[in-house]
């Protein structure tokens, strides 16, 4: 939203194609630049490949049989699609939030402490401090500070999603991927999460997939419009929503299809 200085590009996707099991192609040689410490929204009708695109950034797809990406995804200049990439280290640097809250079946505290214990050797005290900081960062601390031993599954839906955000930021990643993070959350809790995302923008590079165009307009700096596996248009959010260059974009944002 502020444009004093051209921000650095954090992620650079080049000729990125994606194939599901059986060779079905979902993405077609897309290029996309994700600026550092900004919010990039990815919009488009269902099945357009927006989630698929996001899922290449932490290679979460490689968990599934037969899925593969071609092209390059450069994170700080390094191609993470390279088979030699250390996936565990990559996922420490690139956190992910899913469509539904996915707290682990453990206490609120342990949900946040878990990735810390996974990646770092920390003393108890350090862990406690960083868990508190992460919960503060996710605007959840005040609500759960007296029930840290309670199961994460016992929280409300919106709280669970913020817990997942706390879990994702605990290990201090550079990038946060959000795959329709509010699609299973009620409207009030959704606004809270949007506020939170806006605050996280200062510290993290955020890429958010959303089917909600108002949401994209409210919180993002830049927006990419996907259609049938291709990026049709990318630009500053305001420009894309008020003066789209492509006809397809205009049709989509005015609700003619999708």
């Amino acid at each position: 939203m502020d444009t004093q200085q051209e921000p650095k590009t954090k992620i650079r996707a080049r000729k990125l194609s994606f194939f599901y099991e059986g060779g079905h192609q979902a993405l077609f040689e897309n290029d996309l630049d994700i600026p550092e410490r900004q919010i990039t929204a990815v919009i488009g009708p269902s099945g357009c490949g927006k989630s698929t695109h996001l899922r290449t950034y932490n290679r979460i797809y490689s968990l599934h049989r037969g899925q593969r990406a071609e092209g390059e995804v450069l994170l700080d200049g390094q191609n993470i699609l390279d088979p030699k990439t250390d996936l565990l280290a990559l996922r420490r640097r690139v956190g992910m939030i899913f469509q539904k809250p996915t707290p682990f079946p453990m206490s609120v505290f342990d949900n946040v402490a878990y990735p810390l214990r996974l990646h770092f050797k920390l003393s108890r005290k350090e862990i406690e401090e960083r868990v508190e900081a992460a919960l503060q960062g996710a605007s959840l601390w005040d609500e759960v500070k007296d029930q840290l031993r309670k199961s994460g599954l016992a929280l409300s839906g919106g709280q669970q999603q913020r817990l997942c955000i706390a879990r994702a930021i605990a290990a201090e990643p550079d990038v946060l991927l959000m795959d329709e993070p509010t699609s299973a959350i009620d409207p009030v809790a959704t606004l809270k999460i949007e506020d939170l995302v806006l605050r996280l923008r200062e510290r993290f590079t955020i890429v958010i997939v959303t089917h909600n165009m108002q949401q994209a307009a409210r919180i993002s700096d830049r927006t990419a419009f996907f259609y049938k596996g291709r990026i049709i248009e990318v630009g500053p959010t305001q420009q894309l929503f008020t003066a789209p260059k492509e006809k397809k974009t205009e049709e989509y944002i005015t609700g003619r299809f999708g």
């Binding site: 932490n58 979460i60 968990l63 049989r65 996936l87 565990l88 280290a89 996922r91 420490r92 956190g95 992910m96 899913f98 469509q99 539904k100 996915t102 682990f104 079946p105 453990m106 206490s107 878990y114 990735p115 996974l118 990646h119 309670k150 199961s151 994460g152 599954l153 016992a154 997942c164 879990r167 994702a168 290990a171």
Partner: protein, 295 residues
């Protein structure tokens, strides 16, 4: 008038009677065993539990060797079967569909093998194999391959399919997004299985373990063939042993009088053990459900 107007209450009564019959049967087992073992209890008292005698000539009977054998063989079986079932279930769930189906069915088929076959295979294949192994290793091997460890091995094979089947279901029922979340924070496959899947499916996993436990406790035929049927408390893995079920099967034919009563007492102990495990399992699940946040 539609038939359901009168058939519905009848059907309901029928259901209720059947359900109550199950409960009654359970009670009847306890009562009958308690009744038939009365003589042994009044003769030996609680000493029956700790006595290692089994002397039909002097009519002195004790349960300790059988109880110890039952507990030890079951523990060995679980110790072998649990990790095996866990990793094979993990592999089967993640394998390509054709391999997953093939291996899944292979494991399921293990459950279809009659226990007498396990017993024969144990006696004619596994026992000589173990014997040769111990001789080759220079280990003192008094019982020629029979005994505690071999019994535990056979039992572990028998309970493996049950535990594995339950674990497969548990892994399959875990929401894919939860697994992805675990990978998303940087878990390896092993860490995901150990820390997330296992906790998520603890109820199902325990169910599988207790099914296995129940089967191992009561298994008769297979153990009978390979335990050695020695009425002593086994002190080493290679010691010959017996189990409650094997003792019963071995001795009922020619038992009468107080020996028969002592056998019923053993039966009662076995039933109580199996029952206690069920109760403990339920209790454990209730105690831990709050911690896991089930509402």
């Amino acid at each position: 008038m539609r038939a359901s107007a009168w058939s519905d209450p009848v059907f309901r009564w029928l259901c209720m009677i059947c359900a109550m019959l199950c409960g009654l049967l359970m009670v009847a087992f306890f009562v009958q065993l308690a009744f038939a073992s009365g003589e042994a209890w009044s003769e030996f008292g609680l000493g029956f539990f700790v006595s290692t005698e089994w002397d039909p000539v002097r009519d002195l009977y004790g349960a300790l060797p059988s109880i110890a054998g039952t507990v030890f063989t079951t523990l060995i079986a679980l110790a072998i079967a649990l990790p095996l079932a866990f990793v094979s279930a993990l592999f089967i769930v993640d394998a390509p569909p054709w391999l997953s189906r093939l291996l899944g069915q292979a494991v399921d088929l293990l459950a279809a093998i009659p226990s007498i076959i396990y017993g024969m295979w144990g006696l004619f294949v596994l026992v000589p194999l173990m014997d040769r192994l111990w001789i080759a290793l220079g280990v003192d091997n008094e019982y020629g391959g029979l005994g505690l460890l071999t019994s535990g091995l056979i039992l572990s094979l028998m309970i493996l399919p049950y535990i594995c089947a339950v674990m497969r279901d548990v892994f399959r029922m875990t929401p894919p997004m939860l697994r992805e979340s675990a990978f998303g924070v940087g878990c390896t496959r092993w860490e995901t299985a150990r820390d997330i899947l296992m906790r998520y499916g603890i109820r199902g996993l325990l169910g599988g373990i207790f099914i296995g436990l129940g089967r191992a406790l009561g298994e008769t035929m297979a153990v009978l063939f390979v335990a050695g049927n020695i009425m002593k408390v086994p002190l080493g893995f290679l010691d010959g042993c017996t189990t409650i079920a094997a003792t019963l099967a071995n001795n009922f034919a020619e038992a009468d009088g107080i020996q028969r009563s002592a056998l019923f007492a053993l039966g009662l102990i076995l039933l109580v053990m199996a029952f206690a495990i069920q109760v403990l399992a339920q209790y454990y699940l209730r105690m831990t459900s709050a911690k896991r946040g089930e509402k």
